[in-house]
Amino acid sequence: MGEVFWIPFWILIFPGFVFTFALGLVATYLVRKVGALVQYRVGPPVFQPFYDVMKLMGKEILIPQEANRAIFVTAPLVGLAGVLLLSTVLGVAAFWPQETFVGDIIVVIYLMVLPSLALILGSSASASPHAAVGAAREMKLVMSYELPLVMAFIVVIIKSGGELSLAGISSHASVGSISGFIAFFMSLLCIQAKLGYVPFDMAEAETELGSGVLMEYSGALLAVWKVMHAMMLVALPMFLVMVFLGGFGSTLAGLVWGIGKYVIVVVLIILIKNTNPRVRIDQAMKFFWVYCGIALVIAVALATIGNIYDIAWL
């Protein structure tokens, strides 16, 4: 027993693949169903995301003649591995807090970039003009939201008194203060961009780019991308819950309340998705760098002042 048993268990079963995959499909169903309800439609059946993935598994895989085959095929797997590792680290920090290491929030920040990088790689390798435009937009989007996201984490780290481990951070619910609330709201929008949802879905832009970055993918490779997106829908809101909203706790009541917080974050994301138009890429960059940037500088200043003078609500 010991590590030989636990590490594969974590990665493959509980916070890792099986759990995140199943929950991700449920979350994808929620996204489509709530979206349908907002538009006064009935929406898909419960198992629809599962049917989609199974169907794509059975389809032919087409690889464009001019594509770089090796990168085209490995990029989705790299993205999937990144999300898998991300959800494992988050899950272990949430449910086995004694097993984590100091500084895992920094590892998580790096792991969160991996799916976007894989998307850029895969779409650039596919030799399609639509995918190239999508990749360029995704690249600009990554550059614009990473800075506000890291600044939001700095606010949290200051609020929790210099904690650098997720388990330590998640014992402080920093959303209850002014700076924490600003940081939570801004990082919610960054997560929206990371998930590639409206208003920041210009990389996939169904109406103008076909499906942008995923244009040339078909069959099982597309299924891997869909699974990756579904798993991100679990990992990223879970991350927000742990960093800003006080985590999942160690008691049963804490766990239930933690799941409630996860559902609240997901529904917030879906409502933002369904009530906004798509913005242009330059508008998104301006929004993240100028408006989010200024708001977060103010939040960092407030958090620092609150820390020095011991005012908890700042």
């Binding site: 929406g43 629809q48 049917y51 169907k55 389809k59 076909g210 499906s211 078909s218 069959g219």
Partner: protein, 142 residues
Amino acid sequence: MNWIRWLKKSPWVFHVNTGACNNCDIEIVNCLTPKYDIERLGIKLVGSPRHADALLVTGVGTRQAVPRLLEIYRQMPKPCVVFLIGACAIGTGIFAGGYHVAGPVDEILKKEDPNVIIAYVPGCPPKPEAMISGIVKALAIL
């Protein structure tokens, strides 16, 4: 494993207009509206032929459009189904023998791929109910 079983549960469609008058196209879009909502059946309109399981063809198949149609058909991952929507696509309708008509779409597709699976939805334009019924019937015998 019988993969066709899953295909029936989530047919993603790609719409291609080969010289239609836009009437059938409006009715296809009408299927997505809250009144008919074909997402109930798992049907989704996708933006790339590589994601599609079913090709919705409208129009007579003009000389300009036919090479593009064949290109799109070749790009679709198999197994896939072709739906011919409306009188024009089925048998060139009132444009039969016109100088711009390259022929009925089904014959052109059969020349390209003899094993192509074609379903016909007649009407000018077919009502959304007719399209949904056609898709359900075609998927039932697949």
